[in-house]
Point group: C2
Chain length 222, copies 2
DNA sequence: GCTCTTTCGCTACTGGTCGTAGCGTATCTG
DNA sequence: CAGATACGCTACGACCAGTAGCGAAAGAGC
């Protein structure tokens, strides 16, 4: 696998990025514009009112659409919010900046920027909370939000490997587990600092955190 | 400050650990047994139904108490859940096990055990989500849940310092910022792994994570 | 023992939300 | 043009947070 830069649009099914329209191709087709308007309205309402304040009726009104139309596409409020938030994470990327530390710093900065937006603050946590109970929702969150983030870390490692930064003696299994730890550490730490501790993620902080994360991993770098 | 082991009961106001009863000492006193029954019922309902499924009426019924009694002591569902969950974190401690790594491993294990319980899984995330909107609730969460955790990290550092593990040349300001980073990293990583990634925190994982965290911090250890 | 004060349980109620049902209409396919 | 599907609208059922008002219980202080 060649180390490549991940561009925003890279879905397996680019046409049906949001709700799978069960169109069987006979009657009146679904309005794609309505889809977009609903997602936009959801993000807007999320930013203004947060998870708790967001109501389906309000979203419908903002989107200029009937409430029933929302339920024709998304089975519940949670699933609608998953898609509305997930589209933001689609914009993440991991470009090759010459060193693993620089790559990770860029990812952290972008991730922190997303988590600082008002529409994501409460929504992400509320989604995760809901996901601990609803198995189906949990899987959907993983696919649409968590997995795309993890891919970034894997890409960063592939790039570092191609640049010859990594210790070639490490076996693949160990390295894969390390990826898991590193991913949980990056995402969890930034989330905790922003959403729980409530302190900002500055470039200086990113530098210090990334240094802590990378320099020491015994034997990871050559 | 002597490096000391933190015991469970260490509140500034040990009598009013839960709701501040505005008793002015004239008429019928509040039933302390009811307080305990309500908190127990809350945790029980939380474990069974999660945050979304928990209703004040249900909690009242389980506790054998009128719903109005709940609202006489806690202003809202969120605040009740804060206290119900916070009492679990009161049991955390950081005993001196001879090395910083051992101390942190013990804290991580205990913290992970708490986050694995069904009653905390969804409740914590839902609380944090609610806290991003409600300033008052956010402060309360910090006082009752986040701060006690942070104290553990500070205690661990004090113990390490007393044992002579720390580099004495580091200035206090830098060290304090490091405490913040380390705290966010420990809490955030464990939370993310358990609640978002949904993977278990095993002793082996704890060992690897702690090693990653400590060995490398440039100049932290002597 | 008596009174005063506060809490307690109960019932009823308001306001709001999710999610659904039914119907007539609009819009596209073949 | 006919069939099929999506759409907007209104109304509705179920549920829940949180409040109001009352009579009764249970202590505190004398």
């Amino acid at each position: 696998m060649a180390p490549t830069t991940r561009q925003p649009a890279e879905h397996p099914d680019p046409a049906a990025a949001t709700p799978p329209p069960p169109t069987r191709g006979k009657g009146r087709p679904r309005s794609a514009a309505a889809d977009q308007a609903i997602l936009d309205a959801t993000r807007e309402a999320l930013a203004e009112l947060g998870w708790g304040g967001l109501t389906m009726g309000d979203v419908a009104q903002r989107a200029g659409v009937a409430k029933t139309t929302l339920y024709r596409r998304w089975p519940s409020k949670s699933e609608l919010v998953v898609d509305a938030i997930a589209s933001l994470f689609d914009q993440l990327e991991c470009s090759d900046r010459g060193s693993l530390q620089a790559d990770i710093e860029a990812v952290v900065a972008r991730f922190a920027e997303l988590l600082t937006r008002p529409e994501t603050q409460a929504a992400l946590l509320a989604l995760f909370a809901e996901g601990t109970r609803d198995v189906h929702l949990r899987r959907r969150i993983r696919e649409r939000i968590v997995q795309p983030q993890k891919v970034l870390v894997q890409l960063g490692r592939a790039n570092a490997q191609a640049r010859g930064e990594m210790d070639p003696d490490r076996d693949a299994a160990t390295a894969d587990e390390e990826i898991d730890i590193i991913f949980d550490t990056i995402a969890g730490t930034v989330e905790h600092r922003l959403l729980v501790s409530g302190e900002p993620v500055t470039p200086d902080w990113i530098r210090r955190f990334t240094t802590l994360l990378l320099n020491p991993f015994p034997g990871l770098l050559r």
